[in-house]
Structures are given as structure tokens and as C-alpha cells.
Amino acid sequence: MKSRLALALLSTTLLFAGHAAAEDMVFTSWGGTTQDAQKTYWADPFTAEKNVAVTQDGPTDYGKIKAMVEAGNVTWDVVDVEGDYAVQAGNAGLLEKLDFSVIDKSKLDPRFVTDYSVGSFYYSFVIGCNKDAVEACPKTWADLFDTQKFPGKRTFYKWSAPGVVEAALLADGVPADKLYPLDLDRAFKKLDTIKGDIVWWDSGAQSQQLLASAEAPFGSFWNGRLTALAETGVTVETSWTNNITAADSLVVPKGAKNRDAAMKFIAQATSDAAQAQFAAATGYAPVNLDSNTLMDAELRKSLPDMQADTQINADMSYWAEHRDEIGTRWYAWQAK
């Protein structure tokens, strides 16, 4: 009995080991149209050039990263995460230091570079509106928080992350240069005024569905999702007034099995050409400073980095420092 059991366990282990060896590296992101573009413009050319197979996995899950690192069995090699998480996880010892002899950081937007992470792409939270469904579209955050002038449901990002708190403060009249440190009491008070009219979106795909069906005819969206939705024929109006930027980052969890391949993958993904192609396909801005010269001038106008007039950069280091505190309050407020 015992030996049979051992045999069974052994064969299971071998099965898993064989499985891991067959794939050269694993890239994990958030799914949907964004990950499709990451596969097409980053992973596929990487596989063709470097002969390293890239398995796509997802969605990104911070609990899983912690579990993998603690168990010493890390199956994700490169992960697309939110910028504030990247800073925090790096400090918490959950990430590998990046090898900047492989990744050329001199060309990368320094706002998003740390020892443990580089930018993946950067996006803006903008005000989106389904023009066919309403008579007038909100143009500012104050409009979006004004249920008298713009009655109906509005949609916001469900998870605690840079974006909604800032939007609430701006709507309440806080000047853009006085946002940080965030006045959470004031932000939640403002959010209270529209709480009953909020429908939360928890994934980019859901945000598109809510807007297209006019379940929520306006709200705060990732700009790239609106670009993608407009291409499907929905009449989308985007307001860039006080658009709030934040970046995703690429990281390597500590103890990743294919560290070398991971570094090369990040180098490829953040190269000028890969970033330019990804940006053209998704409407998100490139993190490589040389990418702009490779892109169509007309197309560049629709990207977040060209909307700088009233743009607000979410303070990633502030968020990284207060991530837990804000998150705990955020979810408690939601559950109220």
C-alpha cells in the first residue's frame, strides 16, 4: 500500500515536472484585448526571434504571487501588475531585481522604473460616455459626480487603486497640484454623495459591456478600452479633462524558474518597436521614449502622453506607501 502510494505520488510529481519543462516561460497579465495585444506584439515576435515559447496565463493575482514565492514554486516568470503594487511588492521582497545589463533602461520612461520593475504601458483614467444613450455627456469629474445635471448610473473601477479617490477629490474642487497627500475623509464624503448611483466594473471587459449596453451610460474608464470599444461601432465620447495617469509594470516574481528568459522578454517587450506596435493597437501610451518616432503622428494624438494639458500623474510612491491603509478603508466603505 505504502509503496503504491509513493509511486502514485511520484508519478504525479513527474507529470507536473514534465509539464513545467515543456514550456520555456510564462507571461501573466489581465486577459482581454490588452493581453491579446501583449501576446501579438511582445510574446510572438520574442518566440520567433529567441526561440523561447511563451505560455500566456492570467489573470494577475497578487495573492497567487505571494503564495508562489512563499511556497518556493513560482510558475509565473513575467507578470503585468499595477505600478503601485510593483513598488510595494519590490520592497516586500516578493520580486527579483531586474537585470539592467539585459534591459536597457536608459530608453525607458524614468517615472516607471524601479530596481524591481519597469513600465509595461501607461494609461489614463478618462471620462467615457455612450453618446447614443444620453442627451449630454459629462466633461469633467465634477460633472460625473453631479447626479442632478447627469442623472443615471455611472461606473467606476471597483478595486482600490489610483484613480477614483483622485477623481472624487478633483470633483470636490481640490486643485490638481494639492491632491497629495490624499484627503481620504474628504474623498469618501464626496463618494458618499453618488454611492447609490455607482455600478462598479471589476475588469476592462466589463467596463466596455456596461458602457455599450448603456447599463451605465458614463463613467471612468481606462482610455484604451474606450478606443477598442469605439472600433466596434459604439459612439463613445472621451473627455480627457484632468485625465489621471497610472502605469502597469512588468515584474519577475522572486524565484521565477526562467529568470534569464524573463529578463530577455522584458527587454523585448519594452523595446521601441514592441512598445510602438502595442500602443498603436491598444490606445495605451508607450513607456519607451523612442517609440514615438516610430508611430503615426495622427495616431499619437489619441494616446495619453499627448493629453498632457490637464493631465494628472497619480503618485505611485504615495500609493505604494499607503496601499494597505487606503485599500482597507476603500473596501470597508464599499461594503457599507
Binding site: 497578487y62 482600490s160 447599463e215 494597505d324 485599500g327 470597508a332 464599499q334 461594503a335 457599507k336
Partner: protein, 283 residues
Amino acid sequence: MAVTVVTGAVKTKRGATLGYLLPALLLIALFFIVPVLMLLMRSVLEPEVGLQNYKALLGSTTYLRVFLNTFLVAGVVTLVSIVVGYPVAWLLAIMPQKWSRIVLAIIILSMWTNLLARTYAWMVLLQRTGVINKTLMGLGLIDTPLALVNNLVGVTIGMTYIMLPFVILPLMGVIRTIDPAILRAAALCGAGKMQCFLRVLLPLSLPGIAAGALMVFVMSLGYFVTPALLGGTSNMMLAELVAQFVQSLVNWGMGGAAALVLLVVTLALYAVQLRYFNPARGT
């Protein structure tokens, strides 16, 4: 009934039975009990040794609201499931077998359909711009769309639909064992239809109701997907809270504490059911 048979087998061939159970027990121990214990340990070890997580959890009105809401949702779903499921089970029990097989197949088929697909289908039906609201507004029955989703109504509808088979199947089994002659006797003795139901059929089918209710209530307590998709954030249930602690806040101490509270409540309920509603004790 079934319980008696099993206990009999254990008494006569205890050794052999244990042997057969071993692989399943090992599997559960290795892949369920050990990891669960490890998570629960974190609730008293992280961020430091002590009960601070339980203090934070039970001392906060917000989290207490989540507990209450969990019980509320589970209770409402259980009640609605029984009210809706009872007539179906009764009909299935007295139908000609040819027909009951078809109806049963439909019920089972719905159970086999992917949970996410079924929940998304409800979303499409129930949302403000969904089929139901559009139809009602088209017929002129309502002026503004009804709020059927992102609230308790949506969660109740979605979960009741998923839980119905778990009420119908045990109830049907119990009702089938009730001798129709008893009902006829009651009628002959002058009982009206309502009396027949309330004083004969209902008491006799109580074990089925209890079994179905417990199953639904306990399953509902730990439900995640449907409340997450069809409920609003103010209808949050415990399982969602655990997921939030573990995935978003990466605070496993609090996650473990919330999980333990859920586990204790569930086990306590199960103990109550075994004590008071065990069908085997009545036979």
C-alpha cells in the same frame, strides 16, 4: 435510512471499510485539511502572534455587516428555494415516471451547465437595459427600469436558481417514500386539501425539507461567484471578503480569520442539524 446502512457496514467490516476510505481521506487531508489549517494558522500568526485579526474583524461594524448580510442572503435563498422547489419536488414524486424522468433531466442538465455562464445569463436578463426590463417597459407596465441586479434581488434570483436542484432532489426522495394511502385516509376522514397538506404531507416531508434547507444554507454561506457578479458591493458576503483580503489586500492574517469564522459557523450549523434533524434517528 442511508446513514443506518453505512453504520451497519462499519460495524461489521470496520477494517475493510477504512481501507477503502484511505485514498479519499489522504486526498482530503493532503489537499484540503492541511492547506486550510495553514491558512487558519496565519490568522493568529500574522502580522504578529495574537488575536489582533479577530479583534479587528469582530470589532468592526463594517465586517459585522458582512457577516449579517451573509446570513441574510443564505436565509432568504434557502427560504425561496424551498417555497419554489417544494411544488416541483411534489409534482416529480407523483408524476408518471416517463415524464418525471424528462423533468429531472432538465433540472440536472442545468446543474451541469457552467456556473459562470448561468450567472452571466442572469446578468443579461436582469440588468437595467436587459431583456426583462425592456419587455416590461415595452409593455408599458413600468416607466423606469426595475433594479434587479447589483443588489439583494439579483443575488437571490441568481443563487436560488443554482440551489434549486439541491432542494428538489432530497425532497422528491422523501415525498416518494410517503404512502399515498395516508393522504387518501386523511381525505376520507374529512380533511380538506389544505389540511391534508399542512397536517399530513408537510410534517411527513420535514426530513427532506431539513436536508435540503441545510444543504442550501451551508452552500450559500460560502458562495462567491454569484454574489460577486449579481450583488452590489453593499451586499458583500463573507467569501468575497476572504477573497478581498487574500487577493487584493494580500492580508492573509485577516483572510484566515474571516475564513475561520465562516468555517466555525458552518460546522456549528451542521452539528445542530445532526442533533435535531437527523433522519436516521427517527427510524
